[in-house]
Amino acid sequence: MSIKKLSFIVLLLALLCAGLLSLFASQSPDGLEHVADKQHFATAQRDPPIKLQLLNEYELSLLPNKTLGRSAAGIIGVLVVLAVTLSWGKVLTRKKEKSNKDNMLT
């Protein structure tokens, strides 16, 4: 199986996980939240300086339906991570090509 085909399958799985399976995720607080609650320091939490209201808490507030909003947020996240990773991957490789060309000229 080519890497391209395998990558496509993994991407589909990622979209499935983010767009559908995430809707069935446990709503219980995670390890850190649980500790923060129990040890009474959860209230110290502050909003980060950059706060995009659009996708806060993994929910696309544009959409009227909460489930759709969560699904859409997951899919958006998958695509953004993919795009950003591919970008720096390409940049890191391009510099190698550039220095190869420089070496060839000297």
Binding site: I3, V10, S22, Q45, N56, A73, V81, G89, T93
Partner: protein
């Protein structure tokens, strides 16, 4: 395990950010030297998969939940340097787009969920690879153990950061974070083994040469 803003003191989050930045810069130099361009699509989709998997919290004992970290899994498939960069990408997107994890705490989160489980887990995995005979069960054991240890030690570091910040006593933080993540780590171990098994079936050559056992 995503630490929000407000939990860590500047004495803790500033050095954490500096360390994460320095290590990430070094990791990107290693990736630039080692990266095979054909692997870039795989890096992208594995990053996307880790992001997606992190959305699926599973219940662990006592009204708590956990989720996959994914750093060791990435390291086994793509090498620890790429794993660190991919985890940093996932954590940064989570922070900026979804407010999952604080911005000042981003360095600490990258340290706990990226650098420690990727490099620490990788060292354990590669060492076991040399010690154990080459077999599927040996590989699975090595993955499970290094995945678990990576999550466990990452959580202890988080506990230490909280303790040093003065928001909770260090002893309490270490005990609480360690015990919860000892359980969450079991999920990490199981999922890591399953995912690597699946990818190994499709393309056995994908496992790095040094790690092949």
């Amino acid at each position: 395990m995503h630490i929000p803003d407000g939990f860590l003191s500047p004495e803790v989050w500033i050095p954490s950010a500096a360390i994460s930045l320095a290590v990430s810069a070094w990791a990107s130099r290693q990736v630039r030297v080692e990266l095979e361009p054909e692997k870039i699509p795989l890096m992208g989709v594995m990053g996307a998969f880790v992001f997606a998997a992190q959305m699926i919290n599973f219940p662990v004992a006592g009204g708590t939940s956990g989720h996959l970290v994914g750093a060791l899994l990435l390291a086994v498939l793509l090498g620890p340097h790429a794993a660190v960069l991919i985890m940093a990408t996932v954590l940064t997107v989570q922070c900026l787009l979804f407010q999952d994890g604080g911005l000042t705490a981003l360095g600490a989160n990258i340290l706990n969920m990226g650098i420690v489980p990727a490099y620490g887990g990788w060292v354990i995995y590669a060492s076991l690879g040399k010690l154990l005979p080459a077999s599927k069960s040996a590989r699975q054991l090595a993955i499970a153990l290094s995945a678990w240890l990576g999550v466990f030690f990452g959580s202890l570091l988080a506990g230490l950061e909280l303790g040093l910040s003065g928001i909770v006593s260090t002893g309490t933080a270490l005990l609480a974070m360690g015990s919860v993540h000892a359980l969450i780590g079991l999920g990490e171990a199981a999922i890591s083994v399953m995912v690597v098994n699946f990818l190994y079936k499709m393309r056995p050559d994908l496992l790095l040469k040094q790690s092949r056992i």
